[in-house]
Subunit: 161 residues, 2 copies
């Protein structure tokens, strides 16, 4: 199992590297599903996301080029234009069936964390080929949640709310 | 008429400030329309954009808040997180019926230009409350274009191509 510890969140915690395992796009519904699976383990969980983010993740995963920058290309171009780099993205929280994530940027030896929906963070991670992590307690929560309606249906699509 | 000249594009050129004049969203079609109109004049032209960008522009124009950052909020958060600011956006080109734009960022007294589709640039401009400009020759082209199929139908939605 690939684990990684770093500062800024006292006292310490563990994040687990995940792979994008599945992108399930159904053009007929607003909500799409991606599945993240442990890189070095069997645990996996789905995240429900919006259609345009799912299409972006799929396109970035397949490294399809578009004539002009798409929205997540714009995020990449801003990061690079400002001389920063994306180190990783982390799914940091699950609250009220909603996932939260962060982009972890580095610039001049300084770390900058930027809040993001997981869908955008994963779209940018796949585009910029950086690792996807999840905080271990989020993974524990999402795997063990005993509620009848599974937390993996937490919408990552605020447009639909 | 508000005009503005700046360096980096020799020898000199003029950009004209525009206002977001209309957002026309039709949920039944993939292509939506926004209209930019001269801030201090009568010239106006439409840009065809994608649905998710149109929804984003509309939401940002109405200053509607979402529980989590949407994709253009992510762009704003990256810009601010990296201690830069957005000065303005500029529609810089019209080629083969397709518009091109740039975000003009400033960081530590240095200007950084980032390529963008006009739809994303306008969504970010409306969100961050910065002026929208168009290069005068683009405005001249789009107003005077004598082709039977008007250039205002240049798609700003590469996903649909």
């Amino acid at each position: 199992m690939t684990v990684y510890d770093w500062g800024s969140h006292p006292p310490e915690f563990t994040v687990i590297q995940m792979e994008l395992n599945k992108i399930i796009i159904s053009e007929n519904t607003a909500q799409q599903v991606i599945v993240l699976k442990e890189s070095a383990g069997a645990r996996a969980f789905p995240i429900v996301i919006g259609l345009s983010e799912a299409i972006a993740i799929d396109r970035n995963f397949k490294a399809q080029k578009t004539p002009r920058p798409m929205t997540h290309d714009l995020v990449e171009n801003v990061i690079k234009g400002l001389d920063a780099r994306l180190e990783r993205i982390v799914v940091t929280d699950l609250k009220d069936r909603t996932f939260y994530a962060k982009l972890i940027l580095r610039r001049n030896g300084k770390t900058v964390e930027v809040d993001s929906r997981p869908s955008d963070a994963i779209a940018v991670a796949v585009l910029m080929k950086v690792p996807i992590y999840v905080e271990e307690r989020v993974l524990d929560d999402v795997i063990s949640d005993p509620s009848p309606e599974p937390p993996d249906l937490a919408p990552d699509e605020d447009e639909e709310e």
